[in-house]
């Protein structure tokens, strides 16, 4: 007995020694990483010359965090994970019936979304609800729409598109330009924007059909940049970096308007007090409806020959071709359908902002949309919606962290750290769940009964 406890002591001593040693190395590395960038700050003095400000205290904090973090990881967290893994392997696997929430997740989420604006109004009043409905609700729904559109290209057809924001821009500018030059209404321009974006998807898709993998990725990225640069430089039409402002608002199918001066103003007709919240709530339901349209189309298309052809293309292009599937039209329809939803989302974005400028269509947006698709689990609509909520809602929440000012002093601005945390979150989520939030897929073709399969069985495509 004594012998065993002695070995345990030796093992834990070894572990502690190793943890301390690793913590020391981690501290050294952190010191090396941060000594120039955190320890010193370049600042401008009164003469506009660059001078260095020393911040050794902050550097010490960074190094200390690295050391403590490493120590805890090696000494406690890693053994704990290993123990849990061993316990899991030892325990017999029990098939658990999925709970009520898990089984009806989509339905419950939809109900929650439908009652979301009234709940927010009840909680915060009309003015207070603006922020929650607009910044959180509508913004997240726009990203869900975009990500579901891109999902058709990347998740279903397996074509890596890094320039998806181009179609978003085409949609937004089609609405902005056609409504301000021709005065057409939103309900007419919404489908037109979708069709125009789809046309651009086909035009851009055509030359890149031969390309694969990263070559395809870089060319789509190039197209995205080209469209943005044209928007910046074609100043006669697009007004360049100034953007187009004063874009007309949408109306409820032309029956009620949200213009304050109009006779059929929504608030006037119903004798309600004037507020901009009605318009935002209307936009929220509109966005929700457009998202549902995207989801419906995706789900239906997956069961149609074209959707099956997309997934077959993703799994194996050569087999696809030898079975007589026309890969050219298959790829082009994927590009066009994805682009169409991008265009619809774009025109919705324009009507919501009332202002578009090339600033909104930078590569970072494409990257964020792609990240949402991959983090959600490519091909899984629910996973993508969850990823959009977590990533976009999470970073929006950082704007609201005013209480942190009381801890770190008034100069502390949490907004500054928004994108830093966004980037780090992308890495952490990806390392933690490489297959995305939803790791299982629902096959559309099956023998006898439908079973969810692991996402690792689906391929990511070579296109």
């Amino acid at each position: 007995m004594a012998n065993i406890s002695q070995t345990n002591v030796v093992v834990s001593n070894n572990l502690m020694a190793r943890a301390l040693r690793e913590a020391f190395y981690a501290g050294l590395v952190a010191l090396g990483l941060f000594v120039l960038f955190v320890g010193l700050k370049t600042d401008q003095n009164i003469l506009n010359e660059l001078v260095l400000v020393q911040r050794w205290g902050l550097l010490a904090i960074f190094v200390a965090i690295a050391m403590v973090g490493r120590f805890l990881t090696v000494a406690y967290i890693r053994p704990w994970f290993e123990a849990r893994k061993a316990a899991k392997a030892a325990a017999p696997t029990v098939e658990r019936e999925a709970g009520f929430v898990a089984r009806n997740f989509s339905l419950l989420a939809l109900i929650a979304l439908v009652i979301y604006p009234p709940v927010m109004v009840a909680l915060f009043g009309f003015q207070g609800s603006l922020k929650w409905v607009d910044n959180f609700g509508i913004q997240i729904l726009i990203y869900v729409m975009l990500a579901w559109g891109l999902n058709i290209v990347v998740g279903l057809a397996g074509l890596l598109d890094l320039g998806y924001v181009a179609f978003y821009a085409v949609g937004a500018y089609s609405y902005a330009l056609l409504s301000s030059y021709l005065g057409l209404s939103f309900w007419l321009l919404l489908p037109i924007a979708g069709v125009l974006a789809a046309a651009w998807g086909t035009i851009l898709g055509f030359p890149v059909l031969r390309l694969k993998g990263d070559y395809l990725a870089i060319v789509t990225l190039a197209f995205g940049e080209i469209i943005r640069l044209v928007l910046i430089n074609w100043t006669e039409v697009t007004k360049g970096t100034f953007g187009i402002s004063g874009i007309a608002k949408a109306s409820v199918f032309g029956i009620w308007s949200f213009d304050v001066s109009a006779a059929n103003n929504f608030a006037k007709v119903f004798g309600l007090p004037m507020s901009s919240a009605y318009y935002k709530i209307f936009l929220f339901y509109l966005a929700l409806a457009l998202c549902m349209l995207a989801a419906f189309v995706t789900i239906r298309l997956r069961r149609m020959p074209i959707g099956r052809a997309w997934e077959a293309l993703r799994e194996d292009e050569i087999a696809c071709r030898s079975l007589g599937i026309n890969t050219v039209t298959t790829k082009l329809t994927a590009f066009a359908t994805g682009a169409m939803f991008g265009g619809i989302a774009g025109s919705f974005f324009a009507v919501r902002q009332g202002f578009v400028s090339p600033e909104s269509f930078v590569f970072l947006e494409s990257a964020i949309i792609l990240a949402i698709v991959v983090l959600g689990g490519m091909g899984s609509l629910v996973g993508i919606a969850v990823a959009a909520t977590v990533m976009i809602g999470g970073t929006e929440l950082l704007r609201e962290m005013d209480f942190l000012k009381q801890i770190f002093g008034p100069e502390f601005t949490p907004e500054l750290y928004r994108m830093l945390i966004f980037g780090l979150a992308m890495i952490v989520v990806m390392v933690w769940k490489p297959r995305g939030f939803v790791g299982s897929r629902e096959p559309t073709a099956f023998l006898r009964e439908r079973k969810s399969v692991s996402g690792s069985f689906t391929k990511e495509g070579h296109g």
Binding site: G32, F37, L40, L50, V208, Y215, V431, E460
Partner: protein
């Protein structure tokens, strides 16, 4: 004619910087088949390291001979970014090796966002101007060539020779090429694959740091967003030359530099990036694996 040669010189300088960055993309792509999107920000980080080292030298010793200052800046920037890329590879890319192809691409994009915002948070969002480090200009047959341009082209040429030698004639280079061809087989033959990949990242980062220092010297200003555009153009250069091929990366870099400066000289400067990207698209459509790239063999 003189105007044309002048633009050639400018394009060559710009192209050298792109080429140096492009090597990092191409080496990493060659060895693990991933697009390291954070590489442009590593380049920016290198530029910032050089800037801070320069300010330290200025503050501690007053004036330092510029050749010595540049040398110290380059060396420290190389070490710095090498360490950064080593840590980044360990934390963000290694856990995802063997996972599906898009996973490391997403972490790389996340890393790119995180790095540029890290510099914004720690160093401030404003432009960082430095007084011209090297200002002499020579007049050769009516073409004005600045000392900066000579330094950039020379440093690039020397570094390329060194790296070409390392990759082709040293045990390390052999290990890299073996890992590139067949990772599993290389591991069976006793090559430490993880170490080789780490070293590749460090080498790429070191070259990007040199490019960052040169960029700082050439333009005299750096800002935290500076990683993106040169990064995308260098990636374009790597793809144009045939990704995975070292001479291809340099060739692609020079081509992009030349296209950019000639287009700005003879057409409108507004559309120079449109021209670059259009030529990329056209080249790839007719030669889908780049200029010097090997066409991929499809195995069924």
């Amino acid at each position: 004619m003189e105007y044309f040669v002048q633009q050639l010189v400018n394009g060559l300088t710009l192209g050298s910087i792109y080429g140096l960055i492009a090597i990092g993309y191409t080496m990493v792509y060659g060895i693990i088949g991933m697009v390291n999107f954070a590489h442009g920000d590593i380049f920016m980080l290198g530029g910032f390291a050089a800037l801070i080292v320069y300010l330290i030298l200025l503050g501690m010793f007053g004036g330092v001979p510029i050749a010595l200052a540049l040398f110290i800046m380059i060396i420290i920037a190389m070490l710095m970014t090498g360490l950064w890329n080593w840590v980044i590879e360990k934390l963000a890319y290694r856990p995802l090796r063997g996972s599906f192809r898009l996973a490391p691409l997403i972490t790389a994009i996340g890393m790119s966002i995180a790095l540029s915002n890290f510099v914004q948070v720690t160093q401030g969002p404003r432009n960082k101007p430095v007084p011209p480090l090297v200002s002499s200009v020579y007049d050769i047959f009516g073409i004005s060539i600045s000392l900066k341009q000579i330094i950039i082209v020379l440093v690039t040429a020397v570094l390329l020779t060194i790296f070409w030698y390392i990759v082709n004639h040293t045990p390390l280079g052999r290990a890299q090429r073996a890992t590139e061809q067949d990772r599993k087989m290389a591991a069976l033959l006793g090559i430490d694959v993880d170490k080789t990949i780490s070293i590749t990242f460090v080498m790429g980062a070191a070259l990007a740091a040199v490019a960052g220092t040169m960029y700082l010297m050439y333009y005299g200003v750096i800002v935290f967003t500076d990683g993106f555009t040169p990064g995308v153009k260098a990636f374009t250069a790597a793809v144009l030359g045939g990704i995975g091929s070292l001479p291809g990366a340099v060739l692609g870099g020079l081509m992009i530099g030349l296209i950019e400066s000639l287009w700005s000289a003879y057409f409108t400067i507004d559309y120079k990036d449109v021209a670059t990207f259009s030529i990329l698209a056209i080249v790839l459509i007719f030669k889908p694996s780049g200029i010097l790239g090997r066409p991929e063999v499809e195995k069924v």
